[in-house]
Symmetry: C2
């Protein structure tokens, strides 16, 4: 098979593939606008990683490094990754693609924070993520889950 | 009828009512834990407002004031309200309860930011909310909508 996680280039082809995912939103529309305004491909820094099955994008996530000075989740305070829009297309679920993406994110060795959809909590627990102590000022109704690499604790 | 918006007291009765809402999550569980630990009612500062129909809670929202120094949305930078978990129970939708809650939030005269579920965009537009210019570092995959009182602009 040779299935692998790759960084997605942000071009018209990728953005067209993104339309198949439920969590298509302002982020994708904004990228599309940028592309249209510049009339150039492949030059936008991409936070997206994905898995292709043949030439079809079947899974994706967004991953963005947050600077230590904004860290309100981990101790000692440090750079960490925020992960969002982890999604596998319905016909391709149950094949370990979600797990592959999360393992890829973990491979950077940084703590990870995500705000999962309520229905996906079991998956995240299997991946070693745990709830934080809710802080209204910081979390504002979200249900953040975090993953601690060795030596990292809650703030 | 005398339907009105009221600040919800956080006690066991209210938390039991919250279980009927879809967006029950870490915030509510954390409040429940606090109540159980202290064995006292009504003493937790509540960010929740709601509407009762008879003695049944049928609509709610969370509203929290963010300090101007954290304002990355409005110009001039100022205190603003973050609104989340706006929700009307299915049997009570279409009666203007959602609108009543939003009008209540607007009555403070502060700008408002919310991260709506995708399906509710039409409602928010009717309420005068607009999209922001997406900023990945700030918005991280969210689709924030904002409401500007007179004299306030985007940052």
């Amino acid at each position: 098979m040779g299935t692998k996680v790759e960084k997605l280039k942000i071009n018209f082809k990728t953005l067209e593939e993104f339309k198949k995912f439920k969590e298509y939103g302002l982020q994708e529309l904004s990228m599309l606008e940028d592309l249209e305004a510049n009339m150039v491909d492949n030059d936008i820094e991409s936070p997206f990683y994905g898995i292709y099955f043949g030439d079809k994008l079947v899974a994706r996530m967004s991953l963005y490094q947050i600077d230590a000075k904004y860290d309100r989740y981990f101790y000692p305070p440090q750079n960490y990754l925020e992960l969002w829009k982890l999604e596998v297309l319905p016909d391709y679920q149950g094949r370990g693609y979600g797990r592959m993406l999360v393992e890829f994110a973990k491979s950077f060795g940084l703590p990870i924070k995500t705000n999962p959809r309520v229905q996906s909590r079991d998956f995240w627990e299997k991946m070693g993520f745990t709830s934080v102590d809710y802080d209204m000022e910081r979390d504002r109704g979200e249900n953040p889950l975090v993953w601690y690499p060795e030596g990292v604790k809650a703030q």
